[in-house]
Structure formats: structure tokens, C-alpha cells
């Protein structure tokens, strides 16, 4: 039962193996297809029912009405817990999860995403 050097085979094997870790910041990590990352908003689909606001567990999402039946969405990236309940709650699929997860910023003012135009997302900088 007690044979010294029993692990030696495993130790030698380990020398010829690749490291189990990845060089993360240099080598990007790919998230699975249905990862719940940063939420994006498609203003042309929104009907302003505010179901996402009602269901958000952390109050991170704010829909405001603009003229011409358009809606603006502001998501606080600090408050958001990335549960994607808003994506499930939206009856028109105006919200969507992305694979983006590297959301750290140096200034807390930048921790929000504002979506008001169909084409681009504005970030207060």
C-alpha cells in the first residue's frame, strides 16, 4: 500500500503537459454562445411598456420616452447583476445579452450605457 515514489509517474507526465491555465489578458477568453454579459438595447423595437424596469432585481435599467414615440434606455453597468431577466421580460425582444464581460472602467461615471439611437451606443466620456 505504501510505496514511496508512487506519484513519480504523474510528476514526470506533468513535465510534458501544457499549463492548465491560460494567459488571460493576452489571450482572450471566448464565452459560451448564450453567456449573460452586457445587455444591449434596440430602440426601434421598444414599445415603452417598462416591463424590464419592473422586473429588474437591482433597478439598473431606465426607459425614458423621447419625442416621436422613441425610447431611450440607460443601463447602469454597476447596478446590473447580469441575470438577463429583462431579456426574458421584454415582449418585443428589444433587449439582448451579449458575450461582453470586460466591463471594468477607471471612472465610475463611465459605468453606464445609454442607447438612444439605432446605430450606436453612447457612453458618457
Amino acid at each position: 500500500m505504501t510505496r514511496p515514489g508512487k506519484m513519480i509517474r504523474l510528476v514526470v507526465e506533468t513535465f510534458f503537459k501544457k499549463p492548465a491555465t491560460t494567459l488571460y489578458p493576452f489571450k482572450k477568453v471566448e464565452m459560451p454562445a448564450n453567456f449573460r454579459g452586457k445587455i444591449i438595447f434596440k430602440p426601434h423595437l421598444c414599445i415603452g411598456c417598462q416591463m424590464c424596469m419592473k422586473d429588474c432585481p437591482s433597478g439598473a435599467i431606465k426607459i425614458t420616452k423621447l419625442p416621436n414615440k422613441k425610447f431611450e434606455c440607460e443601463i447602469s453597468l454597476a447596478k446590473c447583476i447580469y441575470c438577463a431577466q429583462c431579456v426574458d421580460s421584454c415582449p418585443k425582444k428589444a433587449l439582448e445579452s451579449t458575450k461582453e464581460f470586460e466591463l471594468a472602467v477607471l471612472d465610475r461615471k463611465n459605468l453606464k450605457a445609454v442607447f438612444s439611437d439605432d446605430t450606436k451606443e453612447t457612453s458618457p466620456e
Binding site: 453567456f35 432585481p57 447583476i81 431577466q85
Partner: protein
């Protein structure tokens, strides 16, 4: 020999979470041990009362980072019982699969922590490397590595498709092979056996009288498992053994957890094979009718209990959570009685404690008038009096501080 009382915690290198223990020592022997909870109270039960049911699912999930599925399932089960929803079969199977994957990741995590606590860091590195396999599977199935968010009231949020099934089966094969190696290691490695045997002994009778749950109870020979005793989700359709052990010590708890890993692989394979097709959720009402329900769930650490009381609105009237660590914490004092101080970290780690999950409200009452609760000002006055009676006066220091401000 003179007795010495040493405080361990709230911040201590041997502890992973803020928790305070007071250990009475005579030399190196522990004479008495007492634990103090409350450093991580987050007010989750009260916060649940101020949120809607659907928001609460995500809130209770964050009670624990490791057994998050345990808490959300227990809560959702209680709400579904009040609302009288019949959850589709497929949803129950998906819940069971996620629950078992969570058990695998939690037990592998524990094995690594236990290895670290006894100075066997190779085991920590190996098990945590293997744990990544199951974490990746959980991320693929649910969209996140922790806090899976798979549950919703009336079912689950995500389906499992054919490619995911083959990925799970592949991962199970890898993990089963690795776990066989760990079982062999646990049975043959002399350093591990000698370090863990006869450490933290909890006899069968003590485990029963102190109400131990989970692997702690099962390692003392009590076949107590909610999955068998009161089956929920799809556990009544799955075949599995309740792993027990008669070692009654930390070594026994290691063997129980390793045995449970093997059972989990078997259960996941069976669940994936027998999973029926069909819808994964039913529509749940926003307002839950008045009523109350009590839900039990076998978390990786033991039985998790949720109580929900509804009053007909969209918010619960009361949510009560009893995390498994609270049931197991009392056994630690028994395990450490008349033992060496050096065994303390591994004995505490052996119940797989999760202190922040355990912290619930403590109401502070005045010692002589039990019906009067203490407010913050009263507590302050009480503490000043308490110190003054022991010859410590903070008046001068206070004056100095207030002058500086």
C-alpha cells in the same frame, strides 16, 4: 494548567469568511469552543419582502455563491406550491441536472480547500483544475459560471439541446476518471489518511442529537438525505444511493463527498437519458395567492430550508431561510472538544461552512427586560456602561476625537 481564551476571527488567515470563534485553551488542548455569527448579515430576508417574486428569485440566489441553485430552487419550489403551479417534467429534470452539476463543483471545491487546510496543496491545484471542467459546462448551460439564474417561477429559463448533452457527457467521463483517481488517493495516500483520521470525531449519537445535516451527518452513519427522504424535482425518478460512512471523522466526510461525486455523475447520465421532451416552463401569475409553503432542498452542504408566506400581492409577506451551515455549526463545538488547536482549521472546513449564508437577523434584547429590544443608542450606552464597569473609560478618547473634528 492555566486556561487561555483566544479569539479567532472575525478576520483570520485560517478562515475564508468573517466569523468569530472564541477558543478556550489549556496548553494546546481546546477546552471550550464557541462561535459567534452575524458579521455578514445582509438583510436578505427583509429585502425579499420589498421586491416582487421574480426579483426575489435572483436575490435569494445570491445568498450563497457556491450553492446558489440550492437557494433559488428552494424558494421557487415554495412559491410554486403556494401558487399551485404544475411545473413541466422537463423543467424538473433540468433543475436536477443543474443541481447535480452544482454538487460536483461544490464537492470538488471542498476537496481542494480541505487539501489546502492540511497543507496538501497539490490536491488543491488538481481538484480546482478539474473543477473548471464543470464550471465551463455550467456556463454553457446557464450563461454564467456562478449564480446560474436558470430558475424562474413555473419552470426553468433555458433548455438543454443535443450538443450540450454531448458536452455534459464528455465532461462527466473526464471527471469520473479524475474522481476515481481521488478516491484511490484518499484510500491509499498515507499522509492524507493519517492527517484526517480521528480528527473532528462526531459520534452517531451526537450527530443525531445536534441535528447535523448533509455530508457531516452522512459521515456519522446517518442516512439523511432530502433527495431520498422527501424527493423534489426529478429525484424520485432517479436511481442513486445515499452514501454513508462509519468513520465519523474528517476522513469519513472526505470519503462521503467523493462517493457522492460518483453518484452525481451517474444521476446526470440517467437524467440526460430519461429527460422527456416538452415545454420548460408554465406561465406564472405576478400576484401569488395568499398562503404559505415550506420547501426542503438537499444542498451540497446539507438540507436547505425555505419558508415563504404570501399575502395575495406580488410581494411575499415573509421569507425565511435556514442555510445548512446553521444546522452543522453546533457540531463543530462537539468535534473540537478536548482536541488539538492545530485541528481547528480542518475541522471547521470539514463541515464546508458558508457563514454569510447562515447569517440571519439577530434581535438584541436588554438582558433584564426580555420584551424590550435595544436600539442603536441603547446599544451604545450599554457598551459604554459595560466597559466602564470593567475599568475602561473611553470618555477622554471620545473628547479628543470630537475636538479634532
Amino acid at each position: 494548567m492555566r486556561k487561555v481564551v483566544i479569539p479567532i476571527g472575525p478576520q483570520h488567515p485560517a478562515l475564508k469568511e468573517p466569523e468569530s470563534f472564541s477558543v478556550t485553551l489549556s496548553g494546546e488542548r481546546i477546552m471550550a469552543f464557541s462561535a459567534r455569527l452575524g458579521y455578514n448579515h445582509r438583510g436578505i430576508e427583509k429585502a425579499c419582502e420589498e421586491r416582487t417574486y421574480i426579483q426575489d428569485v435572483y436575490l435569494v440566489e445570491r445568498i450563497c455563491g457556491i450553492c446558489s441553485h440550492a437557494h433559488s430552487t428552494a424558494f421557487v419550489q415554495a412559491v410554486e406550491e403556494i401558487a399551485g403551479l404544475s411545473v413541466p417534467e422537463r423543467a424538473l429534470y433540468i433543475r436536477t441536472i443543474i443541481a447535480e452539476l452544482e454538487r460536483i463543483h461544490s464537492h470538488l471545491l471542498w476537496l481542494g480547500v480541505a487539501g489546502h487546510e492540511i497543507g496538501f496543496d497539490t490536491l488543491l491545484m488538481y481538484t480546482w483544475r478539474d473543477r473548471e471542467v464543470v464550471m465551463d459546462i455550467l456556463a454553457e448551460l446557464t450563461g454564467n459560471r456562478v449564480n446560474y439564474g436558470i430558475n424562474t417561477i413555473g419552470g426553468v429559463r433555458r433548455n438543454i439541446d443535443a450538443s450540450e448533452i454531448s458536452d455534459i457527457l464528455k465532461a462527466m467521463d473526464i471527471l469520473e476518471e479524475r474522481t476515481k483517481y481521488y478516491i484511490q488517493l484518499a484510500k491509499e495516500e498515507t499522509t492524507l489518511i493519517k492527517r484526517l483520521s480521528c480528527v473532528g470525531i462526531l459520534s452517531h449519537e451526537d450527530a443525531l442529537s445536534l441535528g447535523a445535516v448533509g455530508p457531516t451527518a452522512r459521515a456519522s452513519g446517518i442516512p439523511r438525505d432530502t433527495r431520498k427522504d422527501d424527493p423534489y424535482a426529478a429525484y424520485d425518478k432517479l436511481e442513486f444511493k445515499v452514501i454513508t460512512d462509519d468513520h465519523c471523522d474528517v476522513y469519513g466526510r472526505t470519503l462521503v463527498r467523493l462517493g457522492e461525486l460518483m453518484e452525481s455523475y451517474k444521476m446526470i447520465r440517467q437524467a440526460l437519458k430519461e429527460m422527456p421532451t416538452g415545454p420548460i416552463s408554465v406561465k406564472a401569475p405576478r400576484k401569488i395567492p395568499a398562503g404559505e409553503a415550506f420547501s426542503r432542498y438537499e444542498a451540497p452542504r446539507g438540507e436547505d430550508v425555505h419558508y415563504v408566506k404570501a399575502d395575495g400581492t406580488d410581494r411575499p409577506e415573509r421569507v425565511k431561510v435556514r442555510a445548512p451551515t446553521l444546522a452543522n455549526l453546533q457540531t463543530v463545538a462537539k468535534m473540537l472538544e478536548d482536541r488539538q488547536l492545530a485541528d481547528l482549521p480542518i475541522v471547521i472546513a470539514a463541515i464546508d461552512p458558508c457563514f454569510s449564508c447562515t447569517d440571519r437577523l439577530i434581535s438584541l434584547r436588554e438582558p433584564k427586560k426580555p420584551d424590550k429590544t435595544l436600539a442603536w443608542e441603547d446599544l451604545r450606552a450599554y457598551s459604554i456602561e459595560w466597559y466602564r464597569a470593567r475599568g475602561i473609560d473611553f470618555t477622554k478618547v471620545n473628547r479628543k476625537i470630537s475636538r479634532r473634528n
